[in-house]
């Protein structure tokens, strides 16, 4: 009886406190969510610069707006040939002027809005453009990487087939151009810049012909861009003499 009377309230308070603590933990334990939200594409950084550049443009319009009020004012004296009541005239004139001013203001406001809209359009267009450019450069980067790996393969193949003549010397340079077809076969090899030694030139040409066929990327765009015509530079650097 004593226990029941003196301990019910404390027990209820203690249990309530712990329930509140558990609830607070349940509500508050989301450590990672906020961090994830902050990862944004890098393109955002790029278009900020573009927006700055476009802002300089809209400045010219204001002077264009200014000259327009003048012709309106000129038209004012015309419609009042009646000479009797100058007071009324003046009144009308004042009214008209007020109306014109209001119209003028409205038009100016409209123009301002138009300008803002145009600006927004420009900004959007430039943003789109920036994104397109960005993605293009990204794609080009990956294409260049692909091309580079195939180029290394071609280099390896030619090197395996190249037997240097004994007359080869350090500092000799022969530039050749070879044309490939999409299957990777060599259709033509020509010496564009001779090394000065016919034997060396011929050995280089021979190396390409002996290799005969190279691994090229299957994607047509990359092939056309990097492998339709390949320039080769033969240069013995490792010779001792």
């Amino acid at each position: 009886m004593y226990v029941l009377r003196h301990y019910t309230l404390p027990l209820a308070l203690a249990v309530g406190l712990h329930a509140a603590a558990v609830w607070a933990l349940y509500q508050g334990w989301h450590p990672e969510r906020e961090i994830a939200d902050f990862i944004k594409p890098e393109t955002v950084i790029a278009n900020l610069i573009v927006l700055e550049a476009k802002k300089a443009e809209p400045k010219p319009p204001p002077p264009r707006v200014q000259p327009q009020p003048q012709p309106v004012e000129e038209s004012r004296p015309q419609p009042d040939p009646a000479q009797e009541q100058r007071v009324r005239e003046a009144q009308e004139e004042a009214e008209r002027r007020a109306a014109e001013e209001a119209a003028e203001q409205a038009r100016r406001e409209q123009e301002r809005l138009d300008r803002l809209a145009r600006l927004a359009e420009l900004a959007e267009a430039s943003l789109d453009q920036a994104i397109a450019e960005e993605s293009q450069t990204l794609q080009e980067g990956s294409e260049a990487q692909v091309a580079q790996s195939y180029r290394m393969g071609i280099y390896q193949q030619i090197l395996e087939n190249w037997s240097r003549p004994p007359s080869a010397r350090n500092g000799m340079k022969a530039t050749l151009v070879m044309e490939l077809i999409p299957t990777g076969e060599v259709v033509s090899v020509t010496v564009t810049e001779s090394s000065g030694s016919t034997a060396f030139d011929r050995s280089a040409e021979q190396a390409v012909r002996r290799a005969g066929r190279f691994a090229v990327p299957e994607e047509n765009r990359i092939f056309e861009r990097y492998f339709r015509r390949v320039y080769l530079l033969f240069q013995p650097e490792d010779l001792l003499r």
């Binding site: 003196h6 309230l9 990672e32």
Partner: protein, 228 residues
């Protein structure tokens, strides 16, 4: 990593021993909070009763009448018990014919000392429990943590590739045990210190009151023995 690990999942995934440790700590925390609330209410009421009793006592009432009101009643509070014990001893001894004043006073003092000690024990109930929770639950929590980390590293030893993601959950769930231990210990220690200070204040006041009552009864005993 993308989905967030909730603390409850951590607890659910912990090993059995760690879960037992956590359960013990939660129970200890609930019990110690219960004691804290109970002691808080009890000591506050004791202080209020002491204040009102002293007000009543020093208002110049007839002590004999006051005693007869209290004597034989159930559920007397602390200070009333001290008064009743002392005064009862006094009347009982002075009714005996041969007792002299010093003998009466010795008996009264002894009776009141016993009553004060008993009241002190009543005030201090549960405080040892709070002290125990406050001093041991960090160690209990630490035990759970060490055990959990031990397991998590042992399973790491079997892996060829050790990543942070493979250890982190284990350590995190193990650390929950320490957090719980501290959660239970801190209020218990604070409560213990606060309540033992309060108990000491109350005991001092009981003792002071018993000394004052002794003085009054001493005067009464000697005037009686002198007159009789």
């Amino acid at each position: 990593m993308p989905e967030q690990i909730s603390i409850f999942e951590l607890i659910a995934n912990a090993s059995l021993l760690v879960q037992v440790v956590m359960a013990v700590l939660v129970l200890a925390s609930v019990a110690s909070w219960m004691m804290i609330f109970q002691r808080w209410l009890f000591l506050r009421r004791a202080l209020i009763e002491l204040d009102s009793f002293e007000d009543h006592f020093w208002s110049g009432i007839d002590l004999r009448k006051f005693f007869s009101e209290l004597d034989g009643e159930d559920g007397l509070n602390g200070i009333e018990n001290v008064f009743v014990a002392g005064f009862r001893e006094f009347t009982r001894l002075s009714e005996q014919s041969g007792a002299d004043a010093d003998a009466i006073m010795q008996g009264v003092q002894r009776a009141m000392r016993v009553a004060v000690t008993r009241e002190e024990a009543r005030l201090e109930t549960h405080l040892p429990f709070l002290a125990t929770v406050g001093s041991t639950s960090p160690y209990v929590g630490l035990f759970g943590t060490v055990w959990g980390i031990m397991n998590s590293f042992r399973s790491l030893a079997n892996m060829s590739q050790a990543t942070l993601a493979s250890v982190a959950p284990g350590i995190s769930e193990a650390l929950v045990a320490t957090a719980m231990g501290l959660f239970a210990a801190i209020p218990a220690v604070i409560g213990y210190n606060r309540f033992s200070a309060k108990v000491e204040v109350l005991t001092k006041r009981y003792e002071a009151f018993s000394d004052e009552l002794t003085t009054i009864l001493h005067r009464a005993a000697h005037s009686r023995s002198g007159g009789g």
